[in-house]
């Protein structure tokens, strides 16, 4: 049985009970504002992949990408058999050589 889910229209009808006369577009904007606010909380898990590029240390995760990341919790690299092998997180968060190259061309694809 399908889960109970509200549509924007149903929320609009609820808001009309409290504040008569508001427009659909106004409520749509408020719904998206609410989604941004609730997006601060961990909710849904997704996966995305991108190309590994020569001599590129940084891969962008900012909101300009095709994905919207709150928190990365796992990373895997493709091996010679085409399998994705999980790699460890570096706890001290840095390496000795400094790299500042831009990675604006990082293109993520949702898996």
């Amino acid at each position: 049985m399908a889960a109970i889910e509200f549509t924007g229209k149903e929320i609009y009808s609820r808001v009309l009970q409290a504040v008569p006369g508001v427009s659909e577009n106004y409520v749509l904007n408020l719904i998206n504002e609410a989604l941004i606010d609730m997006g601060q909380f961990l909710q849904k898990v997704e996966y995305a992949k991108t190309d590994l590029a020569h001599n590129q240390l940084w891969y962008n995760l900012d909101d300009d990408r095709a994905i919207t990341v709150n928190k990365v919790f796992r990373c895997a690299i493709k091996n010679d058999a085409g399998e994705y092998i999980q790699i460890p997180r570096l706890t001290n968060q840095e390496i000795k050589q400094f790299y500042s190259e831009a990675s604006a061309n990082t293109t993520w694809t949702e898996v």
Binding site: T7, V19, L42, K49, V72, C75, I87, L90, K96, V111
Partner: protein, 149 residues
């Protein structure tokens, strides 16, 4: 750029990742970057030969933000336990705006009180169901000891 195949036998022993700001870093001990700090066994960016890439060489798992609602007839991209809270948030904002437009102070007061009620329901629900705050930016967290005075 030329696509090359992965030659890594076991990336779990030679690769690391971390987050800095809104970027993820991938470093490896394999290959030689040409300096004493980027030689074999030192952590450095992936070395594939100039211009080369490994197509779909990396996969990340992450907590995502909900998708934007583009149409009033669309459904919400959040867990349904949180959807009633979203209604409370929308009503809170709508009531606040309506209160500020209202000429009659008594009605404005009632709307403000209703808005506050919606806000407290929203906050209480998020505390129960929203899990913990996100960590969009990486980095070491500080621990503040309790003040015993």
């Amino acid at each position: 750029m030329a696509a090359v195949s992965s030659t890594y036998k076991d990336p779990s022993t030679s690769f690391v990742w971390w987050i800095e700001g809104d970027r993820i870093a991938i470093a490896t001990e394999i290959g030689d970057g040409g300096t004493s700090e980027t030689s074999e066994t030192k952590l450095k960016p992936v070395q594939l030969g100039s211009g080369n890439t490994i197509t779909d060489g990396m996969v990340i798992s992450y907590y995502a933000e909900p998708d934007k609602l583009t149409s009033i007839t669309g459904t919400l991209d959040i867990d349904n336990t949180l959807q009633p809270l979203l209604i409370d948030y929308v009503k809170y904002k709508a009531l606040m705006d309506a209160a500020s437009r209202e000429d009659n102070p008594a009605i404005a007061q009632i709307r403000m009180a209703s808005a506050q009620q919606c806000l407290s329901t929203y906050r209480e629900g998020l505390r129960k169901f929203g899990m913990k705050k996100n960590e969009k930016t990486g980095g070491t967290r500080g621990i503040v000891p309790a003040n015993m005075r």
